[in-house]
Amino acid sequence: MDIWESLMLGFSVALTLENVLMCFLGCILGTLIGVLPGVGPSAGVSILIPLTFGMSPVTALITMSGIYYGCMYGGSTTSILMNLPGEAASVITCLDGYQMARKGRAGPALGMCAISSFIAGTIGILLLTFLAPPLVAAALTFGSPEYFALTFMGLSLVTSLGGEELVKGLVSCALGLFMGCIGIDIMSGAARYTYGSIHLLDGIGFVNIAVGLFAVSEVLLNIENPEKGVFLKVKMTLKSLFPNLQDWKVSIGAILRGTGIGFAIGALPGAGPTIASFLSYAAEKKLSKHPEKFGTGVIEAVAGPEGANNAAAQAAYLPTLTLGIPGSGVAAILLGAFMIHGLRPGPMLMQTNPDFVWGLIASMYIGNVILVILNLPLIGIWVSVLRVPYQIIMPLIVSLSLVGIYSTELQVFDMKVTLFFGILGYFMRKMHYPLAPLVLAVILEPILEKSLKQSLIISSNSLAIFFTRPVSATLMAVGFLSLTAPLFSATWQRLRREKEEE
């Protein structure tokens, strides 16, 4: 089946009434979650997983995907109007977006965010469409050593790119690997760290971990330190949302560069939209003829990063769907959702469930159109949502999280586990331990352990197998390089500084 036939299959799946409605619902929820500070896409997607249990796998993933890229659209609204990011990837939009709003240019800023997101999202989905099949073809030649090397590389990248301190990221990753070991070892059948508890025989559910770490800990952080932004009153008309010709002249290059940066970064396992948006901002500032104006309200500083974060969100699906390695923290949660719905992520997924994969990709085209409509003419609705005080949203988040967890297996034990991870997540965030490596490690541990043991059986317990096969050796090298790069970089900077001082 060639790409066009696959895409037509995908549209035939995505364009059913049920799937279009659920895509629409996902986009609305995603925009809402993005608009509201205090709930990020990770928390939003993980809280809503239990509600998708009654749906077919493709409908469930279409809904959750709508939430994910919907957040990328919605997150800029609070950044621009309140100087408070709706989610992490919109932090950088606060710098210039809010300044534009203070100068009376909130409309063009919001409009440019939506248009930039649409262009970048569309290009990102097109790239995903054409790059996925060849990547799957390459991945089908992978054996156990390549899979181990791939999971090692994924964990290394998310650890080295995702946090401020590498060592703390590694601790988080190791903690996640330990969590993944709890339960029955699939190869030997032995129970590990269960102490006779029947609840732990199946291991700790990743949904419990994700909801606790992202949603419950976020509530505790906001209870401790309620965020208060100054709401800028702006008059919203459809005409006021469109940028002028000068805005387009300076922004189109930024949007295209942001798309390229976003897709390249987003396709790296673990990198994610946040890093993509920061790098896009840095690139635009470096390329600008007036870098000193960045931070005072320049539109290209909004257009580039917003395009980058959307392109990265689409690109995160590339390793997730083709290799079974999540491209971002949210993609890791979506990967877990795949498994809950009985799908085995990896290169075989495109062969065994082409309707699912292509239906999901086709739904992204539909979702992108829905989102630009929601975020342009209907922006006034989201602006009014911002006026809802956090005191009203917070109880809903907590109750929805815990009830959603209860609904998975009707056990209070799961709620206790979620609460435990909520408190752990709170302390981890306070102490600057990143959360994404832990979640990713929990999800990847079964693949990592199984491929490691199989490789050692093949090689008679020799680790050289990972370094003698070309693909495996390359992936291991990338993984080691990502872990040692900060050390080299710091040393290089110190040597350069010493040379300048001389």
């Binding site: 509600l51 009654g54 080295s160 946090g163 401020e164 060592v167 590694l170 601790v171 190791a174 903690l175 690997l177 330990f178 070991c181 070892d185 190869m187 030997s188 032995a190 590990r192 505790l220 209870i223 401790e224 330190n225 309620p226 990198a271 920061f278 790098l279 840095a282 005191q391 917070m394 109880p395 907590v398 109750s399 929805l400 815990l402 009830v403 209860y406 009707l410 209070v412 206790k416 609460l419 909520g422 709170y426 102490m431 541990e445 990592l448 352990e449 043991k453 199989q454 050692l456 059986i457 008679s460 317990n461 990338v478 390089l481 790069a485 900060p486 080299f488 970089s489 710091a490 900077q493």
Partner: protein, 176 residues
């Protein structure tokens, strides 16, 4: 890969990492204890899938043991690094103090109570109580707003999960 290293990017600069000398040492010790526990338990697990047959591959304790060793090494590194950092006289603590600490502790206590009383009091009553508690006691919202929101949240979640989705939520001994 160099341009992507956090040390290069000013946006991940040192100013974003506050000195947390004491807290880093304490967490390092806790991680070391956890690592020790993981290793001790792993050593008691079978070394090989089939005893006496190394060619059948490592046993169930292999990955936990090496994870524990790795974690112990990281913990020692953290403790040593934190110990060698100079103490700043104006060290800003990241843990909450005063009203913030009380709010967080109260929230945690309330949530623990909620989870433990859910099956005794039933979903509607316990959810109403926890929402009212969080809003009125923890966040100090006005009582009318707290009451209204608590009723709406408990009621709407019951309608969505129990009536629409069909998940049987816990009921109290009074049948509600």
């Amino acid at each position: 890969m160099f341009i992507l290293a956090p040390a290069d990017c000013k946006l991940f600069s040192k100013k974003a990492v506050k000195h947390m000398k004491k807290l880093d040492i304490i967490t390092g010790i806790l991680i070391l204890i956890l690592a020790g526990y993981i290793i001790v338990e792993a050593l008691q697990m079978p070394k090989q899938i089939m005893p006496g047959r190394a060619s059948y591959g490592p046993g169930s304790g292999f990955l936990p043991m090496w994870t524990g060793i790795f974690m112990a090494g990281l913990a020692i590194f953290l403790i040593v690094k934190a110990s060698l950092q100079p103490t700043e006289s104006k060290e800003k603590t990241l843990l909450p103090r005063g009203k913030s600490l009380i709010a967080v502790v109260l929230a945690v206590v309330g949530l623990v109570a909620y989870v433990n009383l859910l099956e005794t009091l039933g979903f509607l009553m316990s959810t109403f109580l926890i929402n009212g508690y969080l809003m009125f006691v923890v966040i100090r919202t006005e009582w009318k707003q707290s009451l209204l929101v608590s009723v709406c949240v408990a009621g709407s979640l019951y309608i969505i999960f129990d009536l629409l989705v069909g998940i049987k939520l816990p009921v109290s001994m009074f049948g509600v």
